[in-house]
Every structure is written in structure tokens, then in C-alpha cells.
């Protein structure tokens, strides 16, 4: 397994940014603008004051890690509607499961695109099946050995947070 300390943070940032931009442009038709100078890696950076849908998918291989994508509920519904060609009313009728599945797929695509870039840089790894967290007032705390990077994006006035947790090398 590679030592993540050897990988420059700028590579993680670039790879996450490219992944988020590619997925949201291709699938939702929206441009994701990185929020500059956002370098807060504390728990407070992803404190949730309203209902969020959080998608997560992992990477296993030369690098082990997870990415959490935090969607505000309204943004999650908007994305699901765009992905499935459904109106806001139809999304409401379709229920939480449909929104969760859409967020899961967007997360799967984002993490897949991110890890494909790492693979091209000589760190091959495989994707795990995505899962969903939903609620308010919860925090995700990594184990101490994990390296954490948090990146925030503005997508058409909505906030999307990417929380990257990578296991430290041996």
C-alpha cells in the first residue's frame, strides 16, 4: 500500500475537484465551483445544521479511503430530479429511497472518477458499493490514523461538501 503522506495534497484537491466537476456537469448539467481557501479539516467543517443526505463510497487497493459527499436535502432532491427527469412534485411522490439512490449513484460516480485518476498516477484501487446517511446533527469522525481533506463546492447556489478520508500508509 502506498504511503499517502507521499502524495501531495494538491493532487487530492485536483482529483476531487475534477471528479466533482465532471460528474455534476455531465449528469446534472451544473458547474461546480470550488470554494477557495477552504481548508478547515475539523469536525465543525461538516457540522450539519439542517437535514443532509450524505453519500459515501470507498476505495480499496494501493490507497484505502472513503469519500463522503454532503448534499443539503433540497439539493439532493434537485439532483435526483435532474438525473431521473422528474419534476419536484414527482420527486416528492417518489420518496426518500429514490433520492437516496440518486445521491448514492452520484457519489459512486464521483468516487469512481477520483480513484480512476489515482489509478492513472500509479495507485490502483477498486470501488466499494456506495451507502447513504441521512439526518441532521450528526458528525463523522475519522480514526486518528486517517488523513482528512475537506473541499467545498458551490453548485448553482447550493453547497456540496466532499470529505476525503484516506488511511495512512504502513
Amino acid at each position: 500500500m502506498a504511503n499517502v503522506q507521499d502524495i501531495d495534497e494538491a493532487i487530492f484537491q485536483l482529483s476531487v475537484t475534477r471528479a466533482v466537476q465532471a460528474v455534476f456537469k455531465t449528469m446534472i448539467g451544473k458547474t461546480a465551483k470550488p470554494v477557495p481557501h477552504f481548508a478547515d479539516t475539523s469536525v465543525h467543517a461538516v457540522a450539519l445544521d439542517q437535514v443532509h443526505v450524505v453519500g459515501t463510497a470507498g476505495m480499496v487497493g494501493a490507497i484505502n479511503g472513503l469519500i463522503y459527499l454532503y448534499f443539503e436535502l433540497n439539493f439532493a432532491k434537485l439532483c435526483a430530479g435532474r438525473l431521473l427527469s422528474l419534476s419536484p412534485r414527482e420527486i416528492e411522490q417518489a420518496g426518500d429511497e429514490t433520492v437516496n439512490d440518486a445521491v448514492g449513484e452520484l457519489t459512486n460516480m464521483t468516487v469512481g472518477t477520483f480513484k480512476n485518476q489515482l489509478s492513472e498516477r500509479g495507485f490502483p484501487c477498486r470501488l466499494t458499493i456506495p451507502s447513504i446517511l441521512r439526518g441532521r446533527e450528526f458528525t463523522i469522525t475519522p480514526i486518528k490514523s486517517a488523513v482528512r481533506h475537506i473541499y467545498r463546492f458551490d453548485i448553482d447556489g447550493h453547497s456540496l461538501t466532499a470529505d476525503l478520508l484516506v488511511e495512512s500508509g504502513p
Binding site: 455531465t26 438525473l83 431521473l84 439512490d101 459512486n108 460516480m109 469512481g112 480512476n116 492513472e120 466499494t128
Partner: protein, 404 residues
């Protein structure tokens, strides 16, 4: 038969995206959410294509693909991987097992449809039962020709039609134009350098958007080898230079499957009228002959039992007209339809020159032809032919050949 596509993906979202992507195409979509379900459905439905994800619970895409390739019945089904697993190593590993193509998520629907269209015969739903376009409907014709004088001739020749003639000088420009706009017919010069016409043909056929667009070759009349090659490759039609614009128009209409019958046939309202053009080229005669039986049958079916062959636009009667009229008369006799001829003195004079047409009689107007039918009906019982009125243009021996 409608092609069947089996999509195997644990994400309902992806399955819905695929359903949406193909909703405008005439195909059947089956869904499975893991490899086990996928194999069962593949055995039951024998799909024409499988869209397969990699990362799935229960049985992943790699395992399903291996089992599929090990099954004598299912191994020939083409598989297109649709997955977020896009790393080089993964792609190579999966390619070794045997997949036809690979689409990495995120993906644009058009890209997926395009790739699927290269594997199976995908037809747009609007292509299938679409209303037959008429010769009077607008159409866009793209002329790919590097000689401005030929383009000018075609534009001038089609000026009287509702067709819009666009032109480009190279195959590359044609590809760009076809990607952005809908073209109803492409006419390409085989004399473009470097066999560009054949390259263009292949590229247009490879694209889902232009897969079924008719493509005509324009070639010098004496270049038999190029004409032969174009026909072998599958060009829809050949037009030869120097261009015969009447012939070119007929070929273009045929290539676009336009209904040209309205140009020659109409009902008015208790009569079927066939209006013959002055210049009856072999292509036109073929075109009208093809429509004759159907049009007469349609008229009979809707209660019309009279037909008028209107030769008012014909300046002189030639063998083409005669052949066509003899065919039309026979069809009318077969269906017990009364008929009459309308034409000028010149046409009558010409008709005297041939054995088969010497007895034809012509009325000078539609009104006279109509009146003749009434007279015939008044005369009992069932006369042989409509009698010519005193002022009608008639043959010296007014024996009507025009009787049903």
C-alpha cells in the same frame, strides 16, 4: 423484431437513466439489479445486448461476465460495460474476458446511445410509423461538392421545390453539419479528392443520427467503375453528370421516400384525375406507374368510378406518355372505372400517328370530360364510351377507346 437490451446495475437511478436514454428508440429494455438476476434474465430473454455494471452486490459484473462467456448459449451476446471502474488496469482486465465496448460513468446519454447503436440496429421510434412525407413538404438536402457550378445547378434545379439545398466542399464540413442539423438527403460527389465520398459514406453510416439518411452519389456518366463501387458500398442512388435535373429531382424524391403522388393525382371530387407532366422521363414514368394501381384502387374504394387523364400540360405526345396511358387505361378497365382524356389539339394530332392511339378522343377541358360521363350515364344501357360533344377535340373517327 425490436432489439432487446438487458441492463444489469444495482442502482435504480442508472436503470432509470438508461430507460430514459432509449425511450425514443424502438427497443425493449429489461432490468436486473445484480449478476444472478442478470444471468437468469439473459437466459430467459436472450437479449441483443447487455449493459453491465461492475460493482454490484450478490454477484458483481466481472463474475457475471465470466459465467456468461462460459455459457455456450449466452456467450455470443455482446456486452457493453457501463461502470465507474475506469482505471486502465480494470479496463484491460475486463477487456480480456470479452466485452464489446466500455462506457465510463459519468456518461452522457447520447454517448451511450451512440455506442449501443454501433452494436445493435437501433431505430428511432419516430422513424418507424412516421407519416409519409410528401413532395410538397420541406426537406433539407446537403450537397457535398467542391465544384461551385454543380452546386449552383442543383440549387437552380430545385428552386421550384420546397427543399432547402445546403452545400459544403469537404467531407469534414459535411460531418460537422450533419452532427448539428437534421439532413434529409446527402448528395456527395465521388470526384472529391482522396476517396473522401466513400469515407464520408462510412462515417455517416457509423453515426446513429445519419445511419438511415439516404446518400446519393454524384458521378460522371462515363465513370462506370466509380458507379459500380458506389452501388456495392450501398449508396442509395446514383446521379450522373452532366446532371438531368428532372431526373435528379425524381431520384432525390425516391431516395427520401417522398410521396410524389399528389403531384400527379388528385380527386375532384367525384373524379380521379391523373395529370401528366410534359417531360415524361423514364424515371417519371416508373414513378407514376408505381403509384397507378394503388391510386385507382383507393379511388374505387372510396366510391369514385370515373377517371380523367389530363394531358393539358403535354405539348407533344411521346412514347413515354402513351405507355403510361395504356397502362392506366388497362387498370381502369380491370376495376370497371370509366375514363376520359383531356388534351390539346397537338396531342390529338400526335395520337393519330400511332396504331394504338389512333382511336383516342380528347376533350378540351375537364368540364367537357365531366359532361361526357353524364351523357354516357343517361344513355342506356351501359355504353361503351363517353360520347364526344360536338366541340370536343376528337379523332377523325370518334370511336372512344376510353370506356370502362
Amino acid at each position: 423484431m425490436r432489439p432487446k437490451i438487458l441492463t444489469v446495475d444495482d442502482s435504480k437511478t442508472v436503470r432509470v437513466i438508461i430507460q430514459n436514454a432509449f425511450k425514443h428508440y424502438d427497443c425493449e429494455i429489461f432490468e436486473a439489479c445484480n449478476g444472478v438476476e442478470g444471468l437468469a434474465l439473459a437466459s430467459r430473454e436472450n437479449p441483443d445486448l447487455i449493459l453491465l455494471d461492475v460493482t454490484m452486490p450478490v454477484m458483481d459484473g466481472i463474475e457475471m461476465l465470466c459465467k456468461l462467456k462460459a455459457n455456450a448459449v449466452l456467450k455470443a451476446i455482446p456486452v457493453l460495460m457501463l461502470t465507474a471502474e475506469g482505471g486502465r488496469e480494470n479496463v484491460l482486465r475486463i477487456a480480456k474476458i470479452g466485452v464489446r465496448d466500455y462506457v465510463v460513468k459519468p456518461f452522457k446519454e447520447e454517448v451511450l446511445v451512440q455506442k449501443v447503436g454501433r452494436i445493435i440496429d437501433l431505430k428511432s421510434i419516430t422513424d418507424a410509423p412516421a407519416k409519409i412525407k410528401s413532395i410538397f413538404d420541406p426537406a433539407t438536402i446537403l450537397v457535398v461538392e467542391d465544384k461551385p457550378i454543380i452546386i449552383a445547378q442543383i440549387q437552380e434545379g430545385f428552386r421550384h421545390t420546397p427543399w432547402q439545398v445546403r452545400s459544403v466542399a469537404t467531407a469534414g464540413e459535411a460531418i460537422d453539419l450533419c452532427a448539428g442539423e437534421t439532413v434529409d438527403l446527402v448528395m456527395v460527389s465521388l470526384s472529391l479528392p482522396d476517396d473522401a465520398a466513400f469515407t464520408l459514406f462510412r462515417m455517416l453510416r457509423a453515426s446513429l443520427k445519419t445511419k438511415y439518411t439516404p446518400i446519393m452519389a454524384i458521378v460522371v456518366k462515363t465513370d462506370a467503375a466509380a458507379q459500380q463501387h458506389a452501388l456495392q458500398v450501398g449508396f442509395t442512388a446514383i446521379a450522373t453528370k452532366p446532371l438531368d435535373l428532372v431526373d435528379l429531382e425524381a431520384k432525390a424524391a425516391k431516395a427520401m421516400h417522398l410521396d410524389t403522388s399528389q403531384r400527379y393525382f388528385h380527386t375532384a371530387p367525384d373524379l380521379l384525375v391523373l395529370k401528366l407532366p410534359d417531360n415524361c422521363t423514364p424515371a417519371l414514368i416508373g414513378e407514376i406507374s408505381d403509384q397507378l394501381k394503388l391510386k385507382v384502387a383507393d379511388a374505387v374504394n372510396s366510391g369514385i368510378n370515373r377517371a380523367v387523364f389530363d394531358l393539358n400540360e403535354v405539348r407533344s405526345l411521346d412514347m413515354g406518355h402513351i405507355k403510361l396511358l395504356l397502362t392506366a387505361m388497362q387498370i381502369c378497365r380491370d376495376l370497371a372505372l370509366q375514363f376520359a382524356l383531356v388534351g390539346s389539339g397537338n396531342v390529338l394530332k400526335d395520337s393519330q400517328n400511332y396504331e394504338d392511339t389512333r382511336a383516342w378522343q380528347f376533350y378540351s377541358s375537364m368540364e367537357e370530360a365531366r359532361a361526357s360521363f353524364q351523357k354516357t350515364e343517361e344513355a342506356a344501357p351501359a355504353p361503351e364510351a363517353p360520347a364526344a360533344p360536338p366541340d370536343a377535340v376528337t379523332a377523325p373517327e370518334p370511336v372512344a377507346a376510353a370506356a370502362g
